[in-house]
Symmetry: C2
Subunit: 265 residues, 2 copies
């Protein structure tokens, strides 16, 4: 399945990380996200977006029914959705939408009723780019971010960064302080998609994993954080369990994300 | 899965009927739609749309890579896509799109290279309405249609009509001349979604199946055409195999469409 995840402090109120095109399928595959008994509603309180790429936001249309859809995003991402896709206008014909600006400092992630969810969240900037459908405008700070999410009761902390254009000090610092990191596993080499008629990883602002300049070499190794690569393109050879690339990944102590994977921190 | 189907005269070149949000999943579940060997391409030559409802068109975004996406639709439907969703503009940043006006008289369904696909197709008007995201404009002829598709070599003919606002003479005539009809199975009663907080079937321009005024009573019975109900909302009680509604449907000689169903005419 594509790159969405769900987080919760209490197992009852959930937030989606990205809304991929197959979101309805993903929701149906995880019972906790279904409607509370006797309702057609949802246990999903909002969606956190890291950028405005179509593969992260198309699922918003599939969440259009019900109350206003709470969309957590930077100003740059919301700007892309509004001016590039008409997202707020179109959702306005259904349940509506509400933009909540993703905070740069840790902040309580609130539920729609105003109560705290039990989670803290903050955004941090990541090298990346605006989506192709707003290519005409210059890149803006906040076009691509990662999230830090923490449960202060347990101290458990994750980083969610499925799109990484380059490894910088900000990312290194975030990784040094988290338990589990979900990281950009799109490509193994810069040219693997070009060979199949696509664009290079660099042009798409994805740092590939492989090689001396790749993210596997640039990212910290060791037991902590647990590194789980997600957002894996079907051209990436590490998807094959018997590939040398997979062996290299496993030797480095990292993991390939699995559909349906559940973690408790 | 949602309401998409694929048709082909030769088993190599395929046309989608609707592009539902889960289209990528559906494509992956049917090997014939995958890329020809050694390519990242597709065996899908185009998409035929019956209306511009989001559940029929969101999958177009998921088909954005590759060459121009060939979209067969009426002028009214294309107008909704362009002015309501910015479809042509957004697809233009990827592989592009090409609109092909759905013909009101039987016409050869051509492949992108210009050769005949081996199929004939024609649209016929059906009572319905424009999608909610263009509600401001008055309804237009062609907002909702059915397709007749025929293989002249075998004489096999289907009707595809997943949205039926009312049964009229045009529909009855089409059904009298086809072998298999895929029909609007959205609701059993007008109020079943209202009870769950949604809108009435009438407001959504779906004729429900049940009751003396329902489509099951209004549509022809008998061995021909084979009637397969699709586009079934999860509120429709006929989805449950042990329901009285399912029993009534089966007694009438009709069927519930099944994910992955294949037919050869």
């Amino acid at each position: 399945m594509q790159t969405s995840a769900a987080i919760s402090a209490d197992g009852k109120h959930w937030f989606l990380l990205e809304a991929s095109p197959d979101i309805r399928w993903q929701i149906e595959s995880f019972a906790a996200l279904g409607p509370p008994a006797g309702s057609r509603g949802t246990s999903i309180d909002g969606v956190l977006l890291t950028n405005a790429d179509l593969d992260h936001v198309l699922g918003l249309w599939s969440l259009r029914e019900g109350g206003p859809l709470r969309i957590h995003a930077t100003a740059a991402v919301w700007n892309s959705l509004v001016h590039g896709l008409g997202m707020d206008r179109i959702l306005g014909f259904f349940g509506g939408s509400r933009w909540l600006e993703a905070p740069w400092e840790p902040h309580a992630l609130s539920l729609s009723g105003g109560e705290p969810s039990g989670l803290l969240y903050s955004a941090f900037p990541l090298p990346g780019k605006a989506p192709r459908y707003v290519e005409a405008r210059p890149g803006a700070a906040g076009d691509n971010i990662g999230y830090r999410i923490e449960d202060p009761r347990t101290g458990g902390r994750i980083v969610f960064a499925p799109d990484i254009g380059a490894v910088d000090d900000t990312l290194r610092e975030e990784l040094a302080q988290c338990d589990v990191a979900f990281l950009d596993g799109t490509f193994w080499t810069d040219g693997e998609l070009e060979e199949l008629g696509g664009r290079s990883a660099a042009l798409m602002a994805h740092l590939p994993l492989g090689g001396p300049e790749g993210s596997l070499a640039a990212l910290p190794r060791g037991q902590k954080p647990r590194r789980i690569f997600v957002h894996i393109n079907n051209s990436n050879p590490m998807l094959r369990e018997d590939s040398p690339e997979r062996a290299e990944l496993v030797r480095s102590g990292a993991e390939v994300g699995i559909d349906g994977q559940e973690l408790e921190l």
